[in-house]
């Protein structure tokens, strides 16, 4: 993938171009990208190509994998195709993971930017609020929220977003605190730019690299939260998910180890690839930290 060089590269774009060069050379990050691409492809087009309903009981229960050519990974305790479950189950998990990470970044960025830029009382108040959310036991709070407002894709996204954002906020705050004292911010002030403009147009582009890394991490954490919730039976009951498969098949695990092993491995592989990409981005976008 070579990049067209015949347009002029703006200053803000430069670190990203440079970053891609570094990223490309990182074998771990690149394999993460390939694995994730593979998983995304399967969950995106798989369900329409492999037309087996993950809910329909199509064979006798607990057929071991590799014994029936039509059912390569066997069936679960209700006689449902494990492959169909795997292909369909990733969709909602990844979707929830990305949306929750999106909420995390939005809240974290707003809180962190204002706290870091204005400092003093604003910082004090916002950081106390952040601490409050950090004190809440994450999984328990998400569980309580989801049950009280009844489990659905939306409540799960909000619940996860609410427990994951403080990390991002702290990071954004640190970035803004550091960047607000730089010369070009001072000169933007001198030419009369408004604070809003300075925050979003002057500082933010320069604070982006660590925030992108943080967003990647948030996706991994959110995916783990979603699988945990659906494992406990608190997911959206209307959609198949990997966590749900593990939770439902758990009582039969000694008669059907494959029904819990494969979906768990799918979650593991997804989170692993996301975190490999995150590590790679960190190395590529934060050259200061490369030595560590």
């Amino acid at each position: 993938m070579t990049r067209n060089e015949n347009h002029s590269v703006t200053a803000a774009e430069q670190p990203f171009l440079e970053g891609w060069r570094v990223f490309r050379q990182n074998k771990a990050a690149l394999s993460g990208l390939i694995i994730l691409g593979f998983i995304l492809l399967i969950t995106a087009v798989g369900p329409s190509l492999y037309g087996v309903d993950p809910y329909s009981m199509i064979a006798s229960p607990l057929i071991p994998p590799l014994t029936n050519p039509n059912l390569p990974l066997g069936t679960d305790f209700l006689g449902r195709d494990v492959v169909a479950g795997l292909i369909n189950g990733g969709r909602v998990t990844i979707l929830i993971g990305c949306c929750a990470a999106g909420i995390t970044v939005i809240i974290g960025l707003l809180v962190g930017a204002f706290a870091g830029f204005y400092g003093k009382t604003v910082d004090d108040v916002l950081m106390r609020v952040t601490e409050f959310f950090q004190v809440l036991p994450a999984l328990l709070f998400a569980m309580a929220l989801v049950t009280l407002f009844s489990p659905s894709v939306y409540t799960i996204i909000v619940a996860i977003g609410l427990v994951v954002w403080p990390q991002t906020a702290r990071l954004a705050r640190a970035e803004f605190m550091q960047l607000r004292n730089l010369e070009y911010v001072a000169s933007a002030k001198v030419i009369g730019s408004s604070n809003t403009r300075i925050i979003w147009r002057v500082i933010l582009p320069n604070a982006m690299p660590p925030l992108i890394v943080s967003a990647t991490l948030a996706i991994g954490v959110s995916i783990l939260f979603e699988s945990g919730l659906s494992f406990l039976g608190l997911g959206d009951a209307n959609v198949m998910s990997w966590g749900l498969m593990i939770g439902q098949n758990r009582p039969y695990l000694l008669d059907g180890w494959w029904t819990v092993t494969f979906p768990g491995f799918a979650i593991f592989l997804t989170v692993l690839s996301v975190s490999l990409i995150g590590d790679g981005l960190n190395d590529a976008l934060n050259p200061k930290l490369r030595e560590r």
Partner: protein, 327 residues
Amino acid sequence: MLNIASAVLKRLAFSVVLIVMVIVLNFLLIHLAPGDPVDILAAEMGGATPELQARLRELYGLDLPVHEQLLRYIVRVLHGDLGVSFFNNAPVTELILRHLWPTMLLVLTALFFSSVTGTLLGVFASVSPRGIGSAIITVLSLVGYAAPVFWTGIMMIILFAWLIPVFPAQGMMTFGLDGGLMVQSLDIAHHLVLPAFTLSTIYIAQYSRISRASMLEVLGSDYIRTARAKGMPKQTVIFKHALRNAILPVITLAGMQFGNLISGAVLVETVFSWPGLGTLAYDSILARDYPTVLGLLLISSIVVITANFLTDLCYRLADPRIKKSQG
């Protein structure tokens, strides 16, 4: 010293504010959830007579203005009254106390095991930063982060309770076992191995990473070079001189992880049917037993707040360089 005292007092005051905020949040949750609180409570009890509904209304003071309800709720909770569990038909406080010690046993064992193993691994890796130890840590931290803990637990059961049946898969003790204190303790320890190890897996990598980083920093400092130049044995330099100064970040991590461990214990306890707070939380959620769920939320928050406070205190006492400004 005066600095420390005033910082500690400030921290303490903020801790109390945080606890009150959690109580308010609980109150808001029950009131913001769709439906009238009494309807929710009554429905979850499996229907209620009008008399009982009236009693509930009186009990929760739902006929009063909201701010007065909130005030009453705060006072009630501060007195240790967390309401009554419908599902277990017992006061929530009593239920929580009953399930507290199995969780403490599990969490503290995991905390001890993961911090010791992780720190040793980190020290081992810091001695040769580019060696095999560091490679192991990198792999461990990737796996430890990406593997869902409930899945790790299930894999442990398949491996060590089914394929190689050396540990029990479920519960905390053998039912009906009677053989004196010694035999029973050993039985509990036997049951503890798999869940405690599962809970540790997430954290071992984090401890090793942080102790490796802080050891590398300390090992590069002047006083270590001096100790080495004096011809001190390698072990003494590493464990007596360096580790003592590198241990602070490990203490912080241990304190911070304590609260998370309780939340994480929900999944592990569910997998292993460990009769602690996590199992109580799971059962209460499935039964929509809100007083118990909210009580657990409050207790867990208090544990996190206390752990944070104690860590902060340890840190200040251990390292006088930390000024008030950093707290």
